[in-house]
Symmetry: D2
Subunit: 278 residues, 4 copies
């Protein structure tokens, strides 16, 4: 792809793409993979009580409720964590929830996912996923924060009211019981800041953050503790559905780079240079 | 809307909205008004030769080619410049081309359009529209620049490859003959920078710029001189169609403010304050 | 300046400039004008009790405490509101506090101040100054917000810890009694977001916001109600001093534009164009 | 630092800090370490001819010319690449030039430097340093680009005229002979875009880019090929000096996180929570 030095001007074939310029743009054409650690449920009754089939199944159900018909799941303990080359090649948007086993995610799989994001695959990182290898890989910072588990209430304010991720929402979302996350949230400044959260105990947090990396789009969304029924909440489901639509790849020229690769040597200039200068 | 002090939590009725969460999101449902000064064509043969029916008709044809079926036009010399309260209330995206008669646009109409943008109407400002009253009103700067008319070639590079406005494009767009616009382009830093142009004569220019104002989205797009057939060029039509889809309003809570209005006094806190403190 | 078409490459004379590359950069060389409406104090005993000489004198004292020796004041009721061409020409940073008489600020003076900001003069807008003509002029939005006067406490969190405006601060600033300002704060997305405030009653607010307009820098800083002694608070004084240093003009090429002016026609290209093309 | 759950409100001791609020802010107090790969010079006569003592010595001389008196150098082949814990603890700003031996930089040293940047140390990445491990680590993308070595001329336009990094400059900088770097430059969108370059052969490039990571500030500056005398050019030296001043750490609360560490559990809320909720 890179070695020849020519610009790849080949544009995605419009007929093959579900994302055409004309006519309908349908959520049913966006292929989502919901990735989940799926460990808490197996160990803790309190979590099973809220998410009997696993958090991933609840998130997937929420997407299906919003018209996404191409939703699959993948979990940590599957071979290759369910994220084979084939699965990732057929994934338009990947959601990620992890908490107690970030270290067990294989580094090679992380690189594979990172490369796919740079190629255009969307990534939605949920709650404790702020500490996932993939999110830290793409941010370059610790992604650390302050936290407290006291069941206090949270209020998520919209600060970007024209953003597609807030479609269908009011000025704020009430979360009756939440685990507090507080600033300073050690991330790069979001390209687009969508939500800011208020916590009863006195903290604030940038709880809805958009980032662009390569051709891909990433949305970090804070709510989602394993012992609270947050992923059943209608507004939370609305946001995740909106985010999946926002993060879906744009069909344009192919991403020309590779994490392990080289720069592109363009020997032939696009304009005449005249006499060789040096 | 504002005086009562309560938060308007009423969310746009999903059934009435064309922008539903489920199913298709169709460009045919986006209502576009193409506004044009329409003076050059009437005065100058060279312009009529390129745009016999007016630049606005060519832009509208480009949108229709891309599936927009709800396109109307409006021009400076119509009553209220064709931008009555009724027309604007039924406009989701307004495109704007003006050059030699910016001063003739009525200030009250400019305020009316500005209020609609803040309420969520999209605005696409084209070429010499950088000096329009409406664009300067929303930017707060002079929007001035350097320019030269020598028919030199332009190359517009994509610098935001995951952005929906670049759907269907390659790494750059060639414009064979253009009027040069050069930095420093006196605008606020774009919220999203999509294109950077190269000119044969030595200048560069931020030629595709996204801004958010209130609930509205604005896209400034540089190409488009009146004596060059740029609005017939397929890639240019692609960008304008993509921009119209990007700029369409998001259906969420209503914009609660007014340019001539007041702040919202929220007498009742959302949380208990305890003993009155002062 | 503009008409000749040549690029002004004259760079500010280093010897004349206080902002030299070598040696000391001293706050004593930054000329600050503290502008104040100065009406509340004259009408209301409760305000005089807190600010007997006027809010402007307290702000000026804070700056002097931080090493600024070139501080003057100006008020609404002076001729030309104290903002003559001469005063503005000798002002590096202008601070602005107004509340009940924004409408009385003369439009021509507003344009004069706006032009100076675009030329490089810094502007610090305080508290209710969010509704000042000058701030709304430079933002292009209503700058409206939600508010409540209940004396509740505020906590201002730092979210940009590497920013010069947070020098000398801890992770947050406590304001024991404040007038609440809440989102949605109708401003463009700040170029740099420095503080986010938490209010007891349930709201959040982007309370420290940086904007760039032309060659100038603007800092909006929320705290500062007329009946609370906020401008005596050490951390608040620290922020205002830091902001004045941040907002001071950079000595580089002169701002080439004018709010009432034209674009710059550059007839001679910087590179050879070859055969005239059209 | 982290385990106790209390907020570190200890603020840097003003008397110990060179960056005081009052009086002079002097570049002579900023401690710069100029890091260089220093391999080309040893292998290639053409490089030695331009930089007989090594690129690092030329960059250091440029800084000293601009009043920096605390400048040291470090090179790849020194023990720990000259970047011991002690050296880094005493470095306020690190500049980085590498090209043919990025892979030889020890991963543990890269992590050490990354941690220091997050703690507040400034980082200036020059030219081919775009592919350094440290820059890629902090960006999360490939940082790849298109390139051509034909000695064509470059013109670097200022697009952020109020930015301290452009102090002392005109509207653009001419570089008579350069190695072309062209878009798409695979970096996150810069927090502040300062320069855009034009190349004779038809490309553009975002050549001066600011990023914030943790408490640190990073400036990527494109010019600087090993066979062109770019680091002797006055405007280039001006930019590097300005960038070193801009990137110097801000003295505020200590960075509380660690790349290998945990989040901060704040058991005691800052506000009363009332009855335990869950």
């Amino acid at each position: 792809m890179n070695g020849s030095g020519t610009i790849r001007t080949r544009v995605a074939d419009a007929t093959a793409s579900p994302f055409t310029n004309k006519g309908a743009f349908s959520v049913s054409e966006i292929r989502v993979t919901v990735w989940h650690e799926f460990r808490h449920e197996k160990r803790t009754e309190a979590v099973r009580a809220v998410y009997p089939d696993g958090i991933h199944m609840t998130i997937a159900a929420g997407l299906q409720e919003h018209g996404f018909t191409n939703v699959r799941t993948a979990t940590l303990d599957e071979p290759e964590h369910g994220l084979t080359e084939e699965v990732l090649a057929q994934t338009d948007v990947l959601t990620w929830w992890g908490h107690m086993a970030h270290r067990e995610v294989d580094d090679a799989i992380v690189e594979r996912v990172a490369q796919r994001v740079l190629e255009g695959m969307g990534l939605i990182v949920l709650h404790s996923g702020h500490f996932s290898k993939i999110f830290r890989r793409l941010m370059g910072t610790t992604c650390s924060l302050r936290w407290r588990e006291a069941g206090e209430n949270e209020r998520m304010w919209v600060v970007s009211p024209g953003h597609p991720i807030v479609q269908g929402l009011g000025p704020y979302i009430d979360v009756p019981h939440a685990e507090m996350y507080g600033e300073h949230f050690d991330i790069p400044a979001p390209d687009e800041l969508v939500f800011i959260s208020w916590f009863k105990g006195g903290e604030v947090f940038r709880s809805g953050c958009c980032f662009h990396r390569g051709h891909g789009k990433i949305f970090y969304f804070r709510p989602g503790h394993e012992t609270y029924p947050i992923y059943y909440q209608p507004e939370i489901r609305q946001v995740i559905a909106n985010a999946a639509r926002w993060a879906a790849p744009v069909r344009a020229f192919e991403y020309p780079y590779h994490l392990s690769g080289r720069a592109i040597n363009v020997k032939e200039p696009l304009e005449l240079l005249g006499e060789p200068q040096l």
